[in-house]
């Protein structure tokens, strides 16, 4: 996993193997990790899940080891929470270089981090995803989905189609493997273009 950030702790923490650490490393999360983190509005649970999935303690040259989020000083916990906010801001700053509107023609999004379908050298790589408008009758799974993970998976399965690969649909493990930045850009900038109301109606009585 690629490192995303490092943080020097204000107070050392006890790690799971019994030692202590003064520095933590945040690895670059995947879509799966981020949807699990954002699946709850409770900030404490979000930080716990974030720590559990992609934050590890380091001490000098030692291997990163897991630790309990409850061990963190409140200031350090806030720092982690601010990293999550920074990730969302990073996604909002992405300038969408897209073609199509998703209604009359497919909206094509180029991934910031392409997805290689398998570790083989000659494996296919997905660079783009096409989003196409659907009828209400075709998206019942999405309309019934509750929770961040289920909703995003249902959205991707209903509206998105991988481009440049022979795989005809977005499978669950393909969605899970998306980089957090691509997930947040799709979630925050593209999803709204295809499913959210634009308040175009006028009241007449």
């Amino acid at each position: 996993m690629q490192e995303y950030a490092r943080l020097d702790l204000v107070k050392p923490i006890t790690v799971k193997d019994g030692g202590s650490s003064t520095e933590i490393v945040v690895f670059r999360p995947t879509c799966r990790m981020m949807t699990e983190v954002l699946d709850t509005p409770n900030v404490t649970v979000q930080v716990e899940r974030f720590v559990g999935s992609c934050v590890r303690a380091v001490n000098g040259g030692t291997e990163p080891v897991p630790f309990n989020a409850a061990e963190l000083n409140a200031i350090d916990g806030s720092e982690l929470s601010s990293i999550l906010n920074e990730m969302s801001e990073e996604a909002d700053k992405v300038n969408l270089d897209m073609t199509g509107d998703g209604i009359l023609s497919p909206l094509v999004y180029t991934l910031k981090r392409p997805i290689k379908l398998s570790p083989k050298e000659d494996a296919e790589t997905m660079h783009q995803i096409a989003f196409e408008g659907k009828r209400v009758g075709d998206i019942s799974d999405f309309l019934d989905a509750r929770g961040e993970t289920k909703e995003f998976h249902a959205f991707m399965r209903a509206f998105a189609k991988p481009m440049g690969v022979t795989l005809p649909i977005m499978t669950d493990n393909l969605i899970d493997a998306l980089d957090f930045l691509d997930y947040l850009v799709i979630r925050r900038q593209i999803m709204g273009k295809l499913v959210y109301a634009r308040r175009k109606w006028k009241r007449v009585s």
Binding site: Q2, T30, L111, K112, R113, P114, I115, K116, L117, S118, P119, T125, M126, T166, L167, P168, I169, T171, D172, N173, L174, D176, A177, L178, D179, D182
Partner: protein, 126 residues
């Protein structure tokens, strides 16, 4: 979609881009390897080439003719298992002679392919 009776996880079988339900017990066999090893009388193994294969029993959707499933040829298939493992193949053809079960609306199929790819996707730097 069908569910695995052991873990209640979802199984998803996609033929030509269309999702088709599997038999409710989700019984499915995937032979990814193209080699078959047989143990000889002296304890050594002989290796034979064979096609990769998927065996499953499909619930026939209303909008599909049974004949279409029995004569499937050169179609793309995606199989998502309950534990998240996903397999895909481009040129699957049915070779099963098993008949359609009209009482239960089930059609067993045996799809042979040149190659079954197990997907282990990961993001890479652009």
């Amino acid at each position: 979609m069908a569910t695995c009776i052991k873990c209640k996880g979802v199984l998803n079988f996609i033929l030509r881009g269309q999702s088709i339900r599997l038999q409710s017990d989700g019984d499915v066999t995937v032979l990814v390897s193209t080699q078959k090893r047989t143990e000889a009388y002296n304890g050594e193994f002989t290796i034979e080439d064979r096609n990769a294969k998927i065996t499953a029993t499909l619930v026939v959707p209303n909008e599909i003719y049974v004949r279409d499933l029995q004569t499937l040829c050169d179609v793309p298939v995606v199989l998502e298992l309950c534990d998240g493992r996903t397999f895909s193949t481009d040129h699957a053809s049915n070779i099963s002679d098993n008949p359609y079960d009209a009482k239960k609306n089930l059609q067993p199929i045996e799809l042979i392919t040149d190659d079954i790819t197990e997907l282990l996707p990961q993001a890479i730097a652009a």
